[in-house]
Amino acid sequence: MSTTDAESTSTRPDPARTEVESVTIRFCGDSGDGMQLTGEQMTYTSALGGKDLATFPDYPAEIRAPAGSLPGVSAFQLQFSSFDIRTPGDAPSVLVAMNPAALKTNIEDLEEGGWLIVDEDAFTKTNLQKASYEKSPLEDGSLAAYRVVKLPITELTKNAVEGTGLSTKQSVRCKNFLTLGILYFLYDKDPEPTLQWLTKKFASKPELIEANTRALKAGYNYGRTIELFTSHYTMKRAKLEPGTYRRLSGNEAAAIGFVAASVLSGKPLFYGSYPITPASDILHFLARYKNYGVKTFQAEDEIAAVTASIGAAFSGALGLTGSSGPGVALKQEAIGLAVMTELPLVIANVQRAGPSTGMPTKTEQADLFQSIVGRNGECPVAVVAPATPGECFHYAIEAFRLAVEHMIPVFWLSDGYLANGSEPYRIPAIEDLPKINVHTRTDPEGFKPYARGENGQGPDSLTRPWAIPGTPGLEHRIGGIEKSDIDGNVCYDPMNHQHMTDLRQAKVDRIAENIPDAEVFGEEKGKVLVVGWGSTYGAITSAVEQLQNEGKSISAVHLRYLNPFPKNLGTLLSNFETVLVPELNNGQLLFFLRAKFLVPARGVNKVQGKPFRVGELRAVFEEALGA
């Protein structure tokens, strides 16, 4: 079906459309209602329509909570726009709620006067009870602040798919496509790509193609036919950088990025991991890339995962291990071993809300302390953190570049929000990717396992050589007991310990020479500087940009390197009157900035398992600007 097709079955002319710049829609319903799929199709179609966009899937904690229950609600929010956007939007202007439980848990977020589309068929007594509604909210006037569109979506769907041979249960499952059709009409989207997608997806089940196609078209036409909405919308294409685009979620980007590091370094990738939300998908993706020589090892626990990766690194592979907070806690002793043995290792931490088991499906940034200083002894490592799903790719490469060039463990910090969120991603040209300089030692002449620099053939004068088993003449022994420099023998000499402690720190500090300066978004001097890291990038930058557009003296620095910091950071901080540090934790980056630079920086903190909203940040920034 193309729009032309759709038109041919229409009984009314197309409505006049209002042009909008950006729209935020949230789909919510029962886990079984296919809300993630609906959101993804809307995203895909918007992307093909040349919009900029950002998404935020919000899964329930239960695998499959009882149908209709509050914990079983699944949601997907997306913002699409004709200008550059960086977040999936604060408050949705359209909320699609497939049942009372979904309405209950999401209605608060809908902006005043926003569209609320509900399946009135789902507002049965039982469902209302499951959502702890005493009366139907559709009837008690409690929704007066919104533009409510009540539709018999279930009925409409059943009618639409009648005759395709589907059981009632199967028929009802098509209601997400009917809903999607309505929204496609409302927002002037071309249903064709989704129809093609259906054809591919259900290639072996033609009845499902037929039914969902009918549902989608029915929704589209229903939207056109009935005077459902008082307005209809259209949107210009966004001005995006030319290139080939795809959608990319943070976890998929990470997986591909780590494979890219393997290709760029010429070293095979070894991924030791133990499943944990929200990191498991990295394992799932990498397990598919066997033809890239990737070895995935699903270990018996996180300790086995990290130690296997360390063993693999010793054996000459790119040793990668990945987990989330609680699992990373278990890896810390072993990460100390990698620090002591000076082996390259990347630890991917897809952070989630803590402490302890916490809220596994919710996002947070509270593992920065753990990453930088959470081990026994003086045990320095490098830390990088991507700011967007797409950067998950680039910093995966960067993490290995640093690990290999400096023979050191590197943390790569993502979070649940980046992991599952996705954005249109411009595919880079392979030749634009960074080089990774591997300096594997092969010459037995004068070889010492802990020799440095030229002698060690490392790119940095503090790097020890990567001397890989199987190489004749480089036989040597390493381990977790303090080692003498150069020789690498077990050594209890006090001054050697001091020297090696200093050296391990210097190795990390030296990385500052091998990374770019921090970039400022806005002026290099001014009133307020906002310093952030990780997934808060979109919200921070959007809020700062809004204020900049109003002529306010505010700039932002978003750090991708958390240890060591970029060399120019101290100077930048001193150029502003006020430094604000928004984080989804209780002030961890803040702590390092204050301790290191003695700046009276202030935290902006939120620990709710949710990302910042642009508006809430803007308000804080305005206050700091004295506006």
Binding site: A47, N291, I303, A304, G311, G316, G473, R477, V490
Partner: protein, 349 residues
């Protein structure tokens, strides 16, 4: 489809010319004088040239404990890792390069206490590595606490009134995890130890060798009751594949299973003919009989020494390598360009 015995041709080049000295590192050995670890080290260093590996292809991986210092003394690649994790480190080493000959050295504390789970899992996965568990029934390095193999009631620093934990038997754990080669030897019996090490090296699969090792400082004479030369023949029994199980200085005793499947000691010639003796089958498709043997211990029974199990299974490292080869054959060698584009794409001009 898979070789289950490693052929040595591939690695036999200059290796043939190596001598014991080539395998001795320049590090001073730092065990207590008289420690059983010395004889195991000496046996290994003597044997290595005969096993036919190139020095550079051999990796010793250990955890933490007195025994775990072993790698420092072998002039091969070595990794003295952290407590209990040697099996996992070895998994990474071997998976990343399946051509290496990988040896895991562990102790009863390192391997059965903190590292019990990794040991269990490396065995069930059947990674092609050789694991030697130095069982001295004590924590040596931390100066004498009881270990998971210490006898019930043992008085040690941490159990001044006697330990209340029932001991584990590593052979039983190995059988339950279905390790493909399982053996037991004694530190001071260099000849038998050599045979065992040679056999485990030739076995392609996961091999666990328990070595009774005397810690003369914190648990002296732990195995004296049956290891002492005077009584050894009568109090140990050598398991030999395909042969009836007999023992005694004069080979005058044997083991048979009774009707309930329980082992019994028989005096050969006195209790009847020898043809109802249990014939040892290390490749028995059901491991129950091996388990029955593993339950035998002093003083009720002679202590079994030798190979409990030796079965053939494709190894984990081989399976991993094959799966990659198959995927590559089917899908073609991966290209980054392709991976980046492996999704619905659209173009902005």
């Amino acid at each position: 489809m898979h070789d289950t015995v490693r052929t040595t041709e591939g690695t036999n080049g200059d290796a043939a010319k190596l001598t014991r000295k080539d395998f001795v590192s320049d590090q001073e050995v730092r065990w207590c004088p008289g420690c059983g670890d010395y004889s195991i080290l000496a046996t290994m260093q003597r044997l290595m040239p005969q096993l036919g590996h190139k020095k550079e292809d051999v990796v010793f991986v250990s955890g933490i404990g007195c025994s775990s210092r072993f790698p420092y003394y072998m002039n091969t690649y070595g990794f003295h890792s952290i407590h209990g994790r040697a099996p996992s480190v070895a998994t990474g080493v071997k998976l990343a390069n399946p051509n290496l000959s990988v040896w895991v050295i562990t102790g009863d504390g390192d391997g059965l206490s903190i590292g019990g789970n990794h040991l269990l899992h490396v065995m069930r996965r059947k990674l092609d590595v050789n694991i030697i568990l130095f069982n001295n029934r004590i924590y040596g390095l931390t100066k004498g606490q009881y270990s998971p193999t210490s006898e019930f009631g043992k008085k040690t620093k941490s159990s001044p009134f006697g330990a209340l934990d029932y001991p584990l038997n590593p052979i039983k754990i190995a059988i339950s995890a279905e390790a493909t080669w399982i053996g037991r030897s004694i530190d001071v019996d260099a000849k038998h130890l050599s045979e065992m090490i040679t056999a485990m090296d030739q076995h392609r699969g996961v091999a666990l060798l328990e070595v009774y090792q005397n810690c003369n400082i914190f648990n002296d004479h732990a195995f004296e009751d049956f290891v002492n030369r005077k009584v050894r023949a009568d109090r140990t029994v050598h398991l030999e594949d395909g042969k009836p199980i007999v023992f005694g200085a004069d080979n005058d005793k044997g083991i048979r299973l009774n009707a309930d499947g329980l082992p019994e000691v028989v005096d050969i010639g006195k209790d009847g003919p020898t043809d109802d003796l249990l014939v040892h089958n290390a490749a028995n498709p059901n491991a129950g009989v091996a388990f029955t043997l593993s339950e035998m211990g002093f003083p009720e029974f002679p202590v079994p020494i030798g190979v409990f199990r030796s079965i053939e299974r494709p190894t984990y490292d081989r399976l991993v390598t094959d799966q990659i080869a198959e995927a590559t054959e089917r899908q073609g060698a991966g290209q980054l360009e392709k991976l980046l584009h492996a999704a619905d794409t659209w173009t902005v001009e």
